[in-house]
């Protein structure tokens, strides 16, 4: 299923390659978010902040002449994970809607900071140069970038799938089901939640780094609350707690958006109706629908 976009015919059409790359990058964010939303019950409404930090890291490093991807990406992941440590440590005392809102608060701080920092372009954003390499590969070649992104997505989803089945993952699911019970069993739940939150933040940071190299441009709207909302919509659309579903959710939302906006200026209305139909009639999201597990 992930290989679908790689179908031979698409390979010589850079537009389709780019469209698929975009989906793959967003799918990576959605999968990382699903890790905490779907398995930890931690609904973050500020996931765009890590995406933006990852992207800006790569862009700012490129601004200073560092365009070797492994270095830039590792720094991007590290910085977004660091932000997640700080935000998580402060936010994870709350739960439910309060958690939703406090994560939003921190993301808004990142957003307004990016707008205000003139050295990084402020609201105009920051373009990236023509060069970026990954161990000798030219990342400015759409096909190369696509396969690099796809590889990272597959790796992330595979690792995350392994993770949620591991001892750590079971604890995480336990926390989602009943944190009180998991605490009573003796697990320091805060630590588990924090680790999951940081892994998710790092995943979004990696996606942000990829985005910077894909779009060759970063701007503060990467951190906007509507972006965070979009990520959540992808996760819900795909089916909460199904990592592969997050990929479908990203593909479906982006696909619908670009198809409908190509058809009509009033594309939001049909998009809204379709989303509404999906949420009303497909109880476990698109993934549940496709996999025939609509037992919710």
């Amino acid at each position: 299923m992930l290989a679908l976009p790689a179908a031979a015919g698409v390979l010589h059409q850079p537009f389709w390659i780019n469209a698929c790359t975009r989906i793959v990058i967003f799918a990576l964010v959605a999968a990382s978010l699903d890790l905490i939303v779907g398995y930890g019950g931690l609904v973050s409404f500020g996931h765009a902040a890590y995406f933006a930090v990852g992207g800006y890291t790569v862009a700012v490093l490129a601004q200073h002449g560092i365009d070797a991807a492994p270095v830039a990406w590792v720094v991007a992941v590290a910085l977004s994970a660091l932000l997640a440590v700080v935000v998580g440590a402060l936010s994870l005392r709350t739960s439910g809607i309060f958690f939703i809102m406090i994560t939003l608060a921190f993301a808004q701080m990142v957003f307004f900071a990016l707008i205000a920092i003139k050295a990084w372009g402020g609201n105009d954003g920051l373009p990236l140069g023509a060069r970026a390499t990954l161990l000798g590969l030219d990342l400015r070649d759409p096909t190369v970038l696509y396969f690099v992104c796809l590889t990272l997505l597959v790796a992330f989803v595979a690792c995350a799938a392994q993770l949620v089945e591991s001892r750590f993952g079971i604890v995480l699911r336990g926390i989602r089901g009943s944190e009180r019970r998991v605490l009573a069993l003796g697990f320091p739940t805060f630590r588990y939640k924090l680790v999951a939150f940081v892994i998710a933040g790092a995943g979004a940071g990696l996606a942000g780094a990829l985005w910077a190299d894909y779009a060759r441009f970063v701007s503060p709207d990467m951190a906007s609350w509507s972006r965070s909302g979009e990520f959540l919509v992808m996760v819900i659309l795909g089916g909460i707690g199904t990592l592969a579903g997050a990929v479908y959710g990203a593909a479906l939302l982006l696909g619908l958006e670009s198809v409908l906006s190509g058809l009509t200026e009033h594309w939001m209305l049909p998009l809204g109706l379709i989303l509404l139909a999906i949420v009303l009639f497909a109880k476990r999201g698109v993934y549940g629908w496709i996999a025939g597990r609509d037992d919710g």
Binding site: M101, F106, V279
Partner: protein
């Protein structure tokens, strides 16, 4: 000194403005447990209907009532068609559904009314600014403050003194008990949702004369409203009122004084823009501090 008083009054006024929206949101959200992102869209609808009714030359009060009524009808329709099917489902399904409603509402409104912002004039009797102690204040804003406090009081009476209020309070915590009393829970839900929508529509209609009536006005203020009810603590009108006032005052005082405070410390260009940036995030910092300190807001309802 009178400037400080004026700024405080500004904060109060802004807080009351947020409260008009927060009241409806906290009812639906705190009591029914529905995260209604479309609350801002209902508010937008109220403003658009009020502005276009006022545009036909109808009196101000009629326009506001029309806005509130249209919002109420939209609320009933949304509850019956969408929300009702989602009570038993994951909260996030409600988020997705109401997000879809935002898209539909924004596009629908721009199809009906066009993309150009509408105008709604302040009623002539209320348009002059009045002198108040040492400063001049717009009369209409005083009316807004009064209206907000009046609505808060009316809601308080409704919730604490009437049978409907009793059912609403009971429905929040003991749904089964209420059902056992022979009350039609789903009717109660519709009523609560409609009430929330009427409040949002009223807010939209009342604010239309001082704001740009345009597509997207709902989302802009929705976030602020969420911040207010979270800071105040969910589910009670009192919490929403306190949260809204706090957010209003902090935001206003931040915008009024952070740049002034920074001026002697930093270079002017930096002070001005840094001040602007800091005051923009002031309420988010406030919310983060409140939640780190009190994870369930300042005035949480009931024990954990």
């Amino acid at each position: 000194m009178s400037l400080a008083l004026e700024q405080l009054l500004n904060g109060l006024q802004f807080g009351v403005m947020i409260f008009l929206l927060a009241a409806g949101l906290t009812l639906v959200f705190g009591i029914m447990g529905v995260i209604n992102l479309a609350h801002g869209s209902i508010y937008m609808l109220g403003a658009f209907v009020a502005a276009s009714v006022a545009g036909t030359g109808a009196p101000f009060v009629v326009a506001v009532l029309a806005g509130a009524a249209a919002a109420g009808l939209a609320g009933i329709a949304i509850e019956l068609v969408v929300i009702r099917r989602l009570y038993a489902r994951h909260h996030l399904d409600q988020v997705l559904a109401t997000f879809a409603l935002i898209l539909i509402a924004n596009d629908g409104v721009s199809m009906i009314w066009g993309k150009t912002p509408l105008n709604m004039a302040v009623p002539a009797a209320l348009s002059p600014a009045v002198t108040l102690g040492g400063f001049i204040y717009p009369a209409y804003r005083l009316v807004l403050i009064a209206a907000g406090i009046l609505i808060a009081a009316a809601l308080y009476v409704l919730i604490s003194r009437t049978r409907l209020g009793m059912l609403i309070r009971a429905g929040a915590t003991h749904r089964e008990t209420v059902a056992a009393l022979g009350v039609d829970i789903s009717r109660l839900n519709t009523v609560v949702f409609a009430l929330g929508a009427v409040l949002a529509g009223t807010a939209g209609a009342l604010l239309a004369p001082i704001l740009a009536v345009q597509v997207g006005m709902g989302e802009q203020i929705l976030i602020l409203t969420f911040v207010a009810i979270i800071v105040g603590g969910l589910g009670s009108i009192r919490g929403a009122f306190a949260g809204a006032l706090l957010v209003g005052v902090v935001d206003t005082l931040g915008r009024a004084y952070i740049p002034v405070i920074l001026k002697p410390i930093a270079k002017p260009e930096i002070a001005d823009s840094l001040g602007g940036g800091l005051s923009a995030v002031a309420i988010y910092v406030l919310m983060a501090i409140v939640l780190v300190w009190k994870p369930r807001g300042l005035f949480p309802v009931g024990p954990r």
